[in-house]
Symmetry: C2
Subunit: 383 residues, 2 copies
């Protein structure tokens, strides 16, 4: 999407590839929203490091980064020995996989690249096919998000107010995003609307990433404390809620997403406000039979006990091409907010039951959560 | 309640009076939880400054501070001219009232002191009566909180888990607190239980003040993000909720309290978890006929856009007697968390309807919210 730097607006993808330099180009997300910078990784090890160190995050974005990283790795091979090429390629694959061992997206993405690559006979052919497949993976990610946008944009009317939680925006994908896709599509259709971004404590992705995205895109928005949404709903100030999903159960329609999502769904149901979840098909889990089987990650208490921010609120964002992924964190500071003698409990996700979800916005249309299973052939589910 | 400083545990009140020095003693709340310090105001102007500058906050606490401040002011008068004494006394009253012009508690407290004081004939008698009345006001505040504790402690069982929101603790009163009173009473009865403190963004009073209180009192507790309570309720981890109230409508049973209270009540109702509100009688508004008539203060957006904290989490708390109310804020720092180009909407309070409230814990017993009006003779209501 668009980013304005020193008054000039340019289009960026979260993840892209520079074939000439054989480099993966990434938005350095750890510096946002206080500074905008691009990172160009020089080799697959740096790309793996960027995934591991959270330069890039979000299911779609790390999938594409791994796909490009695999192509980058095999393209760097010099020589004519097919066996050595195969050993090298295995090392690249394993290194990228190990960067985020519990994530499924990098593996799925790299498997897709590898299947195409193996259709080549020579090393040169395989190298070319790997890059073509990685580009195809990234373009598909963008296309799916655009399709979510086309379906979801119908839900947004002129002068609507939309609430979103956390960041399921273009920074979490190659471009466009999932929960934000309907907003960008509605904007392109000329609709005027206002977005409330839940701050999304403890990591504040709503106040930082989603607000940054919407500001760059010139969409009217305000940040609210997570505590404020109930009051705004009670006073009739929210028309529609759209969130993303980390895992969607194809059998039950339950949605696991950032902590606090469930609370917003409960409030929405009380007030009769439509609650939608926007998802790429890759988040659908066709196996699990109950949301209670989803492991809820307990994250470190320091996230709850303090906050990361900047002392220099007025710092002008500026881009810089950097050859390392070690970011300059000088502009970010952690303050301990909470009582020094107290601990915290920090569940990272929660599960929203199907009964609270009005609809699931997918690239192939909007479904009731309990329809996913019967529509599984359309949605890439099991036969 | 108890505060432990350098290994020694002592009892402190939030507000008290040193008759020898004619000084109001206050806990410097702006430094908490990172530093514990007492402030001794030298004259009524400094006392008014302490109210204005938020050294002391909370309805009960600022009421007692104004009562003591009035006594402090009239006791400082030198001379035998009753007319000059009366003029001086008016100036003291007006100065203290102007320190927090919209608050009703300082005015009610000072009126109570003045009524008693005027029974004296000489200046000396009036000065003595003013102090006695201020002490009486403070002691009554403590007694009422203790009565709330006696009634509310019955709700807490061994191994209960209790959720609270914001700070309605002893720091908001002269001692003991309202929402915390049942916890302190249950602890005194030997019960073991665990408290979850909602962080309470944007001002984080739960993570700072309530957590500090509970830590000092050695009550088992953890801070949670405001987003986490719904998940914990869904997983059966919360047995009881107790919150305070800024204004309770005697005619309808509606409760205006810190933003986010309503959300917790909605979640509690969905999960069948008892939701109690602990109040001193002074918060009951017998006039308003609907919660929608309560003006909801919109606070400054900087509260939502950033956070106050300390860079020195391990700093040892230490007391110091200070003669000024200008606090040393060196240990506190503000960081801008949110996107620099984004604004925020910051409603400070919300209104919880009677149907979501299991009971109102008052000094004279626990009532259903809709019983307040029929029981108004017991609760200080209109005839």
């Amino acid at each position: 999407m668009n980013v304005t730097v020193r008054g000039k607006t340019r289009h960026f993808r979260t993840v892209s590839f520079d074939a000439q330099r054989n480099a993966v180009l990434l938005i350095e997300q750890r510096l946002l929203p206080h500074k905008f910078a691009m990172v160009a990784t020089r080799d697959f090890r740096e790309t793996a490091g960027a995934i591991r160190d959270m330069v890039v995050r979000g299911a779609g974005a790390i999938g594409a980064t791994a796909a490009y990283g695999l192509a980058q790795g095999v393209r760097a091979f010099r020589g004519r020995d097919l066996k050595k090429f195969s050993t090298h390629h295995e090392k690249v694959y394993r290194t990228l996989k190990a960067a985020r061992p519990t994530a499924v997206d990098p593996v799925n993405a790299m498997d897709q690249v590898r299947d195409v690559m193996r259709q080549g006979e020579t090393i040169e052919e395989q190298q070319a096919l790997a890059l073509a497949a990685a580009e195809e993976f990234a373009n598909q990610d963008v296309q799916h998000c655009q399709q979510i946008g086309q379906h979801g944009a119908k839900l947004i009317r002129n002068s609507s107010t939309v609430l979103t939680h956390c960041n399921a925006g273009w920074l979490a994908f190659v471009d466009v995003g999932s929960a934000t896709a309907p907003m960008y599509a509605a904007q392109a259709e000329g609709k005027q609307f206002h977005v409330y971004c839940d701050e999304t404590r403890p990591r504040s992705q709503g106040a930082t990433l989603t607000a940054w995205e919407l500001a760059q895109q010139k969409i009217s928005h305000q940040i609210i404390a997570d505590n404020a949404a109930g009051h705004l709903m009670q006073r009739g100030k929210i028309d529609l809620i759209i969130v993303g999903s980390d895992r969607t159960l194809g059998r039950t329609g339950e949605v696991a997403n950032k902590i606090g999502t469930y609370t917003k769904a409960v409030l929405a149901a009380r007030h009769g406000i439509p609650f939608y979840v926007a998802i790429p098909l890759s988040t659908i889990d066709w196996n699990l039979k109950s949301g209670f089987d989803i492991p809820i990650e307990e994250r470190h208490e320091s996230e709850v006990l303090g906050a990361w921010g900047s002392h220099h609120a007025s710092r002008i964002t500026q881009p810089s091409r950097r050859s390392q992924t070690k970011a300059d964190h000088a502009s970010r500071a952690y303050v301990r907010v909470a009582n020094p003698g107290s601990g915290a409990l920090n569940p990272g996700f929660d599960v929203t039951p199907a009964e609270l979800i009005t609809g699931i916005i997918t690239p192939s249309g909007i479904y009731k959560p309990r329809e996913l299973w019967s529509q599984r052939s359309k949605l890439g589910g099991p036969g």
